[in-house]
Symmetry: C2
Subunit: 250 residues, 2 copies
Amino acid sequence: MRNIKMKVSYDGTNYHGFQKQNRTGLRTVQEALEEALGILTRENIVVHGSGRTDAGVHASCQVINFHSNTKIPAARFPLAVNSVLPPDIVVYQAEDVSADFHARFSARKKTYCYTIFNERQMSPFWRFYAYHVPVWLDVDKMREGADGFLGTHDFRAFCAKNTAVQNFTRTVFDCRIEKEGPLLRFFVQGNGFLYNMVRIITGTLMEIGKGRRESGEIPVLLAGRERKLVGQTLPPQGLCLVAVEYSEKP
Amino acid sequence: MRNIKMKVSYDGTNYHGFQKQNRTGLRTVQEALEEALGILTRENIVVHGSGRTDAGVHASCQVINFHSNTKIPAARFPLAVNSVLPPDIVVYQAEDVSADFHARFSARKKTYCYTIFNERQMSPFWRFYAYHVPVWLDVDKMREGADGFLGTHDFRAFCAKNTAVQNFTRTVFDCRIEKEGPLLRFFVQGNGFLYNMVRIITGTLMEIGKGRRESGEIPVLLAGRERKLVGQTLPPQGLCLVAVEYSEKP
């Protein structure tokens, strides 16, 4: 049986997240992909994503894999699947990979980008893709704060309360802020992420940028392990999964 | 009576163009602005735009003016109007101007940008803001072609058939193509534009980029004055009004 890996981009605005829900009536990206691949292959396809994204969260590069006996060459998949998918989900690359490749378990690094639109008035073009902060943010201070997340830590304080996870230790390889005109892009790269972790990290950095917190307090907050002492969870529309890396070319 | 000038940005996706329609049930940007300003000033407001934009066309900078006796200071207008407007229309600047300023008749130069997304697969994030061209386009050839539009010409061949206009002479000051990753941005600056003119200019340049036309044939097409001999009208979602210039600060 073939194991096919795909790179997928989606606008999460109209989806209840990536992962299939038990409740009906909640449209998810995984279901849309499974349906489209099912039509194409005439098989029951199960899609594995590199990770779930929440309702309203986007992906410019989500990686998935699925098993199939289809004879369709991998190079033909993007165009074929896109002809069946709705226009807010796009497959842009597909390849056959070895049997042991799993989009989630084989992933070594993931990168998320959180976008803040930092102008007095919001742009109508960014309303689904950024969070609006109308007051001035001190980017230098936020960058100082961002450095505090680097390394391996217990990230319990930066995780939503409603999680079943037992192990809160994650490694953050990169946490940097790029400014492009009115846009502030917060890139966070790690070996894995807890529930809402990037949105809470960015929310805490934003409070540093507003002068409500000190840039040096991140290590204290990490050590404190108390969700209620750190910043707010920023809304989903600013978040985008931008890269997933694997240890070797599968 | 005050004459107030405003800069407005809008996502035209859900509007039947800028200008108020006689038919009911077709939502337009002008109506949305007049309603919001009416609520704010408690007057019957008539909005004059620098020009109409078609259904689905966007503006990152549309200029409007209106007359009012309101006592609201101009600097307060953006926040106040935006609190009443839907999120796809945003006012980002307002100022009092002299009585003879008219957003349309005082305008000297307007700049439109047409965006083509030039990759094999479309990006879901650009589906409302760009036109997808999946085949390679020869940007150098298109730039050669663009030069042919510079200057004062009879643009009859580059105007939709259904127009009441008598004078087809317009001056194009600038016609250039910028490449930003997969995006091709066609900027056209002129003293005025005929119906669908930018979308037909870009459509003709695209055909040059595909190798279906010669880059040197623009002067011939202009001289020919025949709509049916030039390129297709590209769809509205790629078009955006990006600047309106006035002869002096009003």
